[in-house]
């Protein structure tokens, strides 16, 4: 696909749920990195914008057999079949796109006109709509990151694997006369911040990268992991996501196929 620039990248993530402590550092690292707005009352999670969200999964058993697991959920960067991920296929504004050279599903907020079709299409609830103008309390706008544009009211936003960090890393590489990035030169904010080291990020196509070695994606079967501990969310839908999860517990691996939806539907009292 990309002869001049060498091979095609497929940036992906491996999140080790045995290591994840559910602390939420990834969520806040993401918010601070990506200028995610906040509101006085952000407790309604269907209205709250958070690109990364840590879910609490339970094994559904009573005290004291109950077990819990925490599952960080960034955008799953679905490849679907040949880049036709659920959201990209439905966007009428070409505001979201799948990039075959990096495997990243980009979202360009200025292009979005807020129809929210993509939100309906996404099976992972990774997309959020800006119902309100983003407002920072007086003085706090000084912490905004110039490498990520601030989104206005009325558009959809989501995680893009911190692709501005990819842009900055390639800038540095170009200056050094390189076209290729080293493993680790491009890291997402959540992977960098995780105090438990639970999030690994790299090129799934590169056999020397840790994410490839651990997930062992099977390219002949839509990227299914060969590692028996690894799974992807809602694998059965064929969305071919690039976020792999690891868990030594079977109930967690099974929960990965339906729990995200169930938790989201927790009735609000």
């Amino acid at each position: 696909m990309d002869q001049q620039n060498g091979n095609t990248k497929k940036y992906g993530m491996v999140i080790d749920l045995d290591k994840c402590t559910g602390c939420g550092a990834c969520m806040v690292a993401c918010m601070a990195e990506n200028n995610v707005p906040f509101r006085e009352d952000d407790t309604d999670k269907l209205l709250s914008v958070s690109w990364m969200r840590v879910y609490r999964l339970g094994n559904g058993k009573p005290f004291p057999q109950v077990e819990e697991c925490y599952l960080p959920r960034p955008c799953q960067q679905c490849e679907g079949h040949a880049g036709h991920s659920p959201c990209v296929s439905v966007c009428p504004a070409t505001a979201t796109d799948y990039d075959m050279r990096t495997g990243i599903v980009s979202q360009i907020p200025t292009r979005c006109f807020g129809c929210r079709y993509c939100m309906a299409a996404c099976p992972y609830h990774v997309r959020q709509f800006n119902w309100w103008d983003p407002i920072w309390p007086d003085g706090m706008e000084r912490m905004l990151n110039p490498n990520v544009s601030v989104r206005m009211r009325g558009v959809v936003e989501k995680c893009g694997f911190c692709f501005h960090r990819y842009q900055l890393a390639t800038d540095k590489a170009y200056l050094d006369g390189r076209r290729e990035l080293e493993e680790g030169e491009y890291q997402t904010a959540c992977a960098q911040a995780c105090p438990a080291g639970a999030i690994l990020f790299g090129d799934l196509n590169n056999p020397t990268h840790a994410v490839h070695k651990i997930a062992q994606p099977d390219s002949t079967h839509g990227g299914r992991p060969r590692n028996p501990k690894a799974f992807r969310l809602l694998e059965r839908l064929g969305t071919n996501p690039k976020v792999y999860y690891l868990s030594s517990k079977e109930w967690v691996r099974k929960a990965g196929d339906n729990q995200v939806q169930r938790t989201e539907q927790t009735p609000k009292a």
Binding site: V88, D97, Y98, M100, S149, L175
Partner: protein
């Protein structure tokens, strides 16, 4: 656009037998409307659309180019992290201009108003892009070996800074759309809109990544 015109004139001629001058009046008013709106669109509108601002200090690129050793990059340099410094900051200028070097009133103004008061000069940047645009100078200058002139024109040869025309609706410089109101591009640096970027990116230099457009990926230039 021609259809209604035909209808109107035919309707006018239908009644023309009774009133001789009516057809002429209709045509006259049509011409008045046409010429008036053309004047508004071509002459008045550009006057209203753009406000004219002078730069806070005039700058002579040509003179500086004679004095520096490394061309444009002497002042518009790459930072070690690969990002581009863009318009120089006071800290760089101070290296030579702590005190006025000559008697040029613009230089004196620069030293008195900005250097001595440690205020950054609020330069008006002709090529300023919206916040959603990521432009990599490294990719173009270092990797693709493009020269500055291709996009910025022969600004290095200018002896003074031209008037900055700010679009009252968008806030961006007239140089983004281009001097020409039709947006016709004669030289490669005449316009700086997304289509102009895409024109080159769709060419042989860059391979397509986008599934939606079969062109370059969106986030190559957006953030």
């Amino acid at each position: 656009m021609e259809k209604p015109q035909v209808n109107v004139t035919s309707a006018a001629s239908g009644h023309g037998e009774k009133e001789e001058g009516a057809g002429g009046a209709v045509i006259l008013f049509f011409i008045l409307g046409l010429v008036g709106s053309l004047l508004v669109g071509w002459v008045l509108f550009p006057q209203l659309l753009y406000s004219k601002k002078r730069q806070p200090v005039d700058f002579n690129h040509d003179k500086h180019m004679e004095l520096v050793s490394d061309g444009c990059e002497s002042c518009h340099f790459f930072r070690p992290d690969g990002t581009y410094s863009g318009v120089p900051q006071l800290a760089q200028c101070i290296q030579c201009h702590e005190e006025p070097n000559g008697e040029d009133p613009e230089e004196v103004k620069f030293v008195e108003e900005y250097v001595k008061k440690e205020r950054e000069v609020p330069w008006l940047v002709y090529s300023r892009q919206p916040a959603c645009v990521f432009f990599s100078h490294a990719a173009h200058v270092k990797m693709a070996k493009m020269d500055c002139v291709t996009c910025h024109g022969p600004i290095g040869e200018s002896t003074s800074l031209k008037v900055y025309q700010a679009n009252r609706i968008t806030g961006y410089s007239r140089d983004i759309w281009g001097e020409n109101m039709l947006g016709v591009k004669r030289k490669s640096w005449d316009r700086m809109k997304m289509d102009d970027c895409a024109e080159c990116h769709a060419g042989a230099h860059v391979n397509p990544g986008s599934v939606q457009t079969q062109k370059d990926g969106c986030f190559v230039c957006h953030k």
